[in-house]
């Protein structure tokens, strides 16, 4: 399998504080990866860098077969290139329906002019309905998304990501605040998504990570502390000291 995303030697400093320190990270096509680490380890900042929200002081971020650098691209361009992102806090457009949220995310021409003259085809409606089913929101499809429960909003956001058909999905703490049943469904959605694309999941909850059943990267103070299977990293003494030992 070829490498889809390659981050190498990246550092970021906020007011003298090194949030990311010489971080290197790789992920292949159709790979599922969990990223764990204590609060403030730099997990969210790592996603900020890949999606263009934060510019690193040094290092490289290369994406795709042609290894294009993401560092010079705007957020919108990076998203169009195939990087989707779910935020830690669920952010859906609350005063719009589930349908409209998904329709907006659907992979289509995003230029203002084409969007202005866009007319939804039967195919697009079906696609949105499919997505709604995939995330278990078929019955809510015409409801205003602000009325959804916290867990349902999280799913809607995942659904919007899937609608974008990204090649790389970055998911920040998807299971926060979910019930056990909801967590299980979330794991299933993510595992399913990872069959056709690369998925990086940041999560605190060990049970959740165990269910994902994939390679794990442990971040600490802005760099990789350990990498491997969950059993492998949890046996690592450094990891136990900084993270699990608490």
């Amino acid at each position: 399998m070829s490498t889809l995303l390659e981050v190498s030697g990246v550092s970021v400093t906020f007011d003298g504080f090194r949030a990311i320190n010489n971080l290197s990270f790789q992920i292949a096509d159709a790979e599922l990866r969990a990223v764990i680490g204590p609060n403030g380890a730099g997990k969210t900042t790592f996603m900020d860098i890949v999606t263009g929200k934060t510019r690193p002081d040094e290092g490289r971020v290369l994406f795709g077969e042609k290894s294009v650098s993401l560092l010079r691209m705007s957020e919108a361009k990076i998203a169009q290139a195939g990087v989707g992102r779910k935020f830690q806090r669920p952010t859906v457009f609350e005063d719009q329906s589930v349908f409209d949220n998904l329709l907006m995310a659907l992979k289509k021409d995003r230029k203002p002019w084409s969007v202005l003259f866009y007319r939804k085809s039967k195919r697009d409606t079906e696609r949105v309905e499919e997505l709604a089913e995939q995330i278990g929101l078929t019955e809510q499809i015409h409801r205003t998304s602000g009325e959804l429960s916290h867990g349902q909003k999280q799913w809607l956001e995942i659904g919007m990501l899937l609608a974008q058909e990204p090649r790389l999905l970055l998911v920040d703490e998807p299971a926060a605040g979910m019930t056990l049943a909801e967590r299980e469904q979330t794991t299933d959605i993510l595992k399913e998504a990872a069959k056709t694309r690369a998925v990086v999941v940041v999560e605190h909850d060990m049970e959740f990570v165990r269910r994902l059943n994939c390679k794990v990267t442990v971040l600490h103070e802005g760099s990789v502390l350990a990498e491997g299977s969950l059993d492998h990293v949890t046996a690592n003494q450094d990891v136990i000291d900084v993270y699990l030992g608490r």
Binding site: A79, M104, Y118, S149, M160, Q164
Partner: protein, 410 residues
Amino acid sequence: MNKSFFARNPSVLIFIACLALFTLTVSVLADGFGAGVISTSFVKTLGKTLCLCLIAIAMDLVWGYCGILSLGHFAFFGLGGYMIGMWLMYARTELIVANSLAEAEIPPTAQEISDAIGNQIFGVVGGSDIPLIWSFADSLTIQLAFVVLVPGLLALVFGWLAFRSRVTGVYLSILTQAMTLALSLYLFQNESGLRGNNGLSGLQNLPGLDDVPQSTVSLWFFWASALALGLGYMLAAWVVSGKFGSVIRGIRDDEARVRFLGYSVEGYKLFVFTLTAVIAAIAGALYYPQAGIINPGEMAPIASIYLAVWVAIGGRGRLYGAVIGAALVSLLSTWFTGGQAPDIPLGFYTIQWVDWWLVLLGFSFVAVTLFAPRGIGGLFDLYTGRHAPNRHGADLGPDMGSLREKEADE
């Protein structure tokens, strides 16, 4: 799914019907038709009000839907007025000058005519040369094109600079305000070539149509204003009804999220800003011939602030709200400041509305903002049952979030 635009947006049809009915009623009762129930000056007031409703729609589009609190749209309105005003003034002066020189024994040279026009128009600012920016003032077609192009280009350049550097929120409002102030101060100078603080006047007279009474001209402009408002309303409703509307409302609510969906937020903002500037300019070009005079004071920043107040009172994020707000507040304002409202004697003090109207307006604005954020338009929700998502404010948060609210309350 492929229902017609009107079937999906019944409120547009209702609006157009109301507007048509209103236009018809006023026309029939107007002086121009001989009924004489509505005076010519009041027809003009109503026509101007329609123009204000049109700029309110522009403001609602840019602020209520796209979240850009622009305090500069009256600058575009004024510019539109100036562009048409230049033609009205020049063409009419040209006719007058030509008439008076025709009496002379020796036929006047082109230079003499030009000097005489210059004297007529710019005498008040102590000049007689016709400034360069008046080069095309004799052509109605070109000046009409300028109505759209000049404000449109200004909005495009200003917006490009501002949005590209990601200026948002209050800072953007201040920036647009600064632009308006700068433009108004520039026009106040005699060197600007637009007659400084005198502005342009006599705009109510159409060149070559001196025989047509004002009662008729006023109706023409009234109809044109109604047509422009109707078309503007439909255009705006079409823009916000589809996916484009989804995107700009998304930008208003969470611009970063829209960016990560792959939409270039800056491009969308620029589009909406420029489009609404053009709508504002067209409204202005119809307004000032009815007002008869335009001067730089009209473009003072306070005007744009009023505009925001109208839209807020009428109800942001719904087009008919903006129209209701603009019509109601501007007509009330005319009534109160025109000295028609009866004073209220309190014994120890008499409330004179000419002075107190602004205070009342200010209080209404604060009250609406605090107690009825959806404005007057929100009243319609009581009938149609449109409800804002009500999660009682905050997200339930990670701990309680997985419960439905009903359960969480228990």
